[in-house]
């Protein structure tokens, strides 16, 4: 269970220094270089990952992707925030300050 404070929809993150990324079979594969563990992101998660690393917040990503998927904006935003929370828990991203 994480002790971190709850994330807002405006948080900004970037890939942690120890994470390498490659594209394979339309998926994004992340490698945590510390332990050699791999994580696979499907097409949707990969699209969100790519935008997070462009400095976009969950809110901005939800606004941009809401027309792409058949899902309400609030549901999509919740999913993105949860995804970012999971990435932070696994130390695959770091929160940008300011």
């Amino acid at each position: 269970m994480s002790n971190r404070r709850a994330l807002g929809a405006e948080v900004r993150v970037r890939a942690a220094d120890q994470v390498a990324t490659r594209q394979f079979d339309e998926e994004t594969i992340l490698l945590d270089l510390r332990g050699g563990n791999y994580f696979g992101l499907d097409e949707t998660a990969g699209a969100i990952w790519e935008r997070l690393n462009r400095g976009m917040s969950p809110q901005e990503i939800a606004d941009q992707l809401v027309g792409t998927y058949e899902v309400e904006r609030d549901v999509l935003l919740q999913d993105i925030v949860r995804f970012v929370d999971d990435l932070l828990d696994r130390e695959l991203v770091t929160e940008l300050s300011g």
Binding site: E26, E27, I29, L33, G36, Y38, G40
Partner: protein, 267 residues
């Protein structure tokens, strides 16, 4: 599989057990990498695999030592030198090869032996398959499998010592890999089932099959990442599930033969 404990000055980082019995463990002793094969030998190497020493355990069998030296020891040193070796067996037919990967006891050697019992088929390797990956300017080129062993080691029922089976034909030179088949048993099935793995599933199956010596080195992880992508882009990764019944072994060999002859497009 991961274990970390301190035994004297050696920090053990990983171990491999078969039926609960420790068969190999790897660790670090200062800057030196060590691999212990209980009852057979201890391997020591620098981090680049350029200075290595295999120390036999007194009384170890010459056959076991030779098998270890040609197989695992060569694979572990190769890993330090930047090479990729799969825990797999490999066979060839008409200049195309298949590798059979999977956990210990999944039937890798059995499949290789059964395949090689058919006329015209060749043995490439048993237990360890050394690969040469594609160059960056030809990313979709298949990896090449390098012949390493002349015999297949088969386990007879529950007996510990394995017996050597020498196929009539052994591959003499490198051969293009047409697929890597991850073997597993599924007793719910009546017949073997072949399925192509995609994305993360393919990636994980391949990553699990690679034999590693340096497991706590970020630069090695990064290099390996590129090698796995190159291998998976160059040849299909598949899964074959089959009942644990030797009566269906022929069907499994038939599926593997079709895969070699027709490719993975229809799978």
């Amino acid at each position: 599989m991961q274990a970390q404990c301190i035994d004297g000055a050696i920090v053990w980082l990983g171990e491999h057990r078969v039926d609960g019995k420790l068969v190999a463990r790897i660790g670090r002793h200062g800057d030196e990498l060590v691999a212990e094969f209980p009852g057979v030998a201890m391997l020591r190497s620098d981090r680049r695999g350029s200075e290595t020493k295999l120390e036999p355990v007194p009384g170890a069998s010459a056959v076991a030592l030779d098998k270890l030296d040609r197989g695992l020891v060569s694979a572990l040193i190769g890993h330090l030198q930047g090479k990729v070796t799969l825990h797999a067996s490999a066979v060839a037919r008409s200049n195309r090869a298949l590798a059979f990967a999977g956990k210990s006891g999944a039937g890798k050697s059995t499949m290789a032996a059964a395949f090689c019992a058919r006329e015209g088929n060749e043995l490439v390797a048993d237990d360890t398959v050394s690969l040469v990956t594609a160059q960056q300017d030809d990313a979709s080129a298949p990896p090449l499998a390098v012949p390493t062993q002349d015999v297949v080691w088969l386990r007879q029922q529950d007996s510990v010592p394995k017996i050597a089976y020498a196929p009539a034909r052994k591959r003499q030179n490198e051969v293009s890999l047409a697929g890597i088949v991850h073997l597993s048993f599924d007793d719910q099935l009546k017949a073997p089932v072949l399925r192509r793995l995609r994305g993360q599933d393919a990636f994980e199956a391949l990553a699990q099959s690679i034999l590693r010596f340096a497991i706590d080195d970020a630069a090695v992880h990064s290099r390996e990442f590129d090698q796995i992508v190159a291998i998976a882009n160059g040849c299909p990764i598949l899964e074959m599930r089959r009942p644990r019944d030797l009566a269906v072994l022929d069907q499994a060999v038939e599926l593997a033969t079709l895969l070699l002859e027709r490719g993975a497009c229809g799978v």
